[in-house]
Amino acid sequence: MISLRGVTLIYPNGTRALDGVDLEIAKGSFVFLVGHSGTGKSSLLRLLYREQLPSSGEVVVDNIRVDKLKRSRVPALRRNVGVVFQDFKLLAERTVWENVAFALQVTGARTRDVMRQVPRVLDLVGLAHKSRVFPNELSGGEQQRTAIARALVNNPKILLCDEPSGNLDPVNTNEIMDLLHRINLKGTTVVIATHNALVVDRMRRRVIRLEHGKILADEERGFYHVTTTEAGAIDAAGSATRVNNGLGQSTLFSE
């Protein structure tokens, strides 16, 4: 479904965001991209929906060479790839219903398709009862669910999430992750860039760890590993691990 071969991305200011990345993600996968800020997680996601072009290498999404795609074909790609952001990116002057419907209307959907699809996705994300509410009247979690509904309304095969829980409290974070899990169970490939260790360790899915633009590790049922010189050693084979943060505090991660 997603394939990166020898992908390097260098920004105009010389920053090497990605360095020779090789990656394969199968259809229906649920993948975490982890690493601290600046390791290239968001950059990698941007390649997948053609917000960014690689400096070199191949990017293939659903059998389409995204790096070679003509600009006129990019809208069609994006209808097949839903994207969710940390800051939700909702339109404040439109209701929940209108925000979700917007994604169908601008792609030329007929009114009857809009009337059918919007309630379906609002139901999926648990916001059917809040369709007439405006974003500023919703909690953070509800706003993010609205954004997920909008990302899903065109029935994309892939859902990309860039720090979806970045602005959420732990309760809402768990709700969002459960929702993403349910979406994945329906067959959608889900790729989440996050630096939320608790979420990653709780879900124990495939974890691809990025460091300085390179893939440091790729584990099927991985943990989030904090790689700083002050942190303690992490025993990935153990069922429970205590990690020191160098400030006299420790956190226990468990399955």
């Binding site: 929906y49 600009r71 006129s72 809208p75 069609a76 790609l77 994006r78 209808r79 097949n80 994207v83 990116k89 339109l91 917007f102 994604a103 601008v106 792609t107 030329g108 909008r150 990302a151 065109n154």
Partner: protein
């Protein structure tokens, strides 16, 4: 900001319309004058009426000559007596000092020099006269006005286009969140562009429409005053189709609006 764009197009079309109308009218006046310029051909003393008639026929065969009128010296004397009546006693003239004369009109005013140069070499021709300087000045003026006009028009159109473009850019900037989401969910560039193209069209069209109203009012007020102030200049606009002229100006306004907004949005979508 939109009012600024409409206002700029209005000013552009008013200036453009005034300039084009003036240029067209002056061009017609100049053309009429130039077309009326005649070459006066004076034959020498030895030329007989038969020679004059032969020359007339020869000149009429020239494809660049439109008309030739033969004025016998007797007719010339009669016309002169008529012209000078009351000023001098022409009965004192006992001999006819005037030569046989031909009045020649050319097809193309720009060929008058060449035709005159050919005529002066014909047998029995003593002299040719035409308002050479006037012809040259008129032809040059027309050429210069054409060039200045083109530069002026280009400047006006560019100014209006830049203002409209900036207006559209501000609108695009104000709606950037919406546009970003539209791009994110897969809206085509055409779908995104269309509302802004419509806005540009409306700005240009409304601006041109307002300009036409101002031009119509201006013409209605000023034209009779001009006609009475300059009776010796044959001002007329019978040759200008005002309805077509108005449609053309509307078209220019709308086109400037559409093109400016197309370019403006296109630049944003490419970044």
């Amino acid at each position: 900001m939109q009012l600024t764009a409409i206002g700029t197009v209005t000013i552009m079309i008013v200036l453009l319309g005034t300039f084009l109308f003036t240029q067209e009218t002056l061009g017609k006046i100049g053309g009429d004058i130039v077309r009326q310029i005649e070459i006066s051909v004076f034959l020498n003393d030895k030329a007989t009426p038969a020679d004059a008639r032969a020359l007339t026929l020869a000149l009429r065969a020239d494809p660049q000559v439109k008309a030739v009128v033969y004025i016998p010296k007797t007719e010339g004397l009669r016309q002169m007596r008529e012209l000078l009546r009351g000023q001098i006693d022409t009965s004192l003239l006992t001999i006819n000092p005037l030569p046989e004369k031909l009045r020649v009109q050319v097809v193309d005013p720009e060929s008058v020099h060449a035709v005159a140069a050919r005529i002066v070499k014909k047998p029995n021709v003593a002299n040719v006269e035409y308002q050479r300087d006037a012809v040259e000045r008129l032809l040059r003026l027309s050429e210069v006005m054409g060039r200045i006009g083109l530069g002026f028009i280009v400047l006006l159109v560019l100014t209006a286009a830049i203002i409209i473009s900036n207006t559209i850019r501000l609108t695009v900037y104000a709606r950037r969140r919406e546009i970003a989401i539209m791009q994110l969910v897969g809206a085509s560039n055409t779908y995104i562009r269309l509302p802004f193209i419509c806005e540009g069209f409306i700005d240009g069209f409304l601006g041109a429409l307002l300009a036409l109203v101002l031009l119509a009012v201006g013409r209605w007020q000023l034209w009779p005053k001009l006609l009475s102030a300059l009776p010796f200049i044959p001002l007329h606009d019978a040759g200008i189709d005002l309805r077509l002229f108005a449609l053309q100006l509307l078209g220019v306004g709308a086109a400037v609006g559409i093109v400016a907004s197309w370019i403006s949005v296109g630049r944003y979508l490419r970044t």
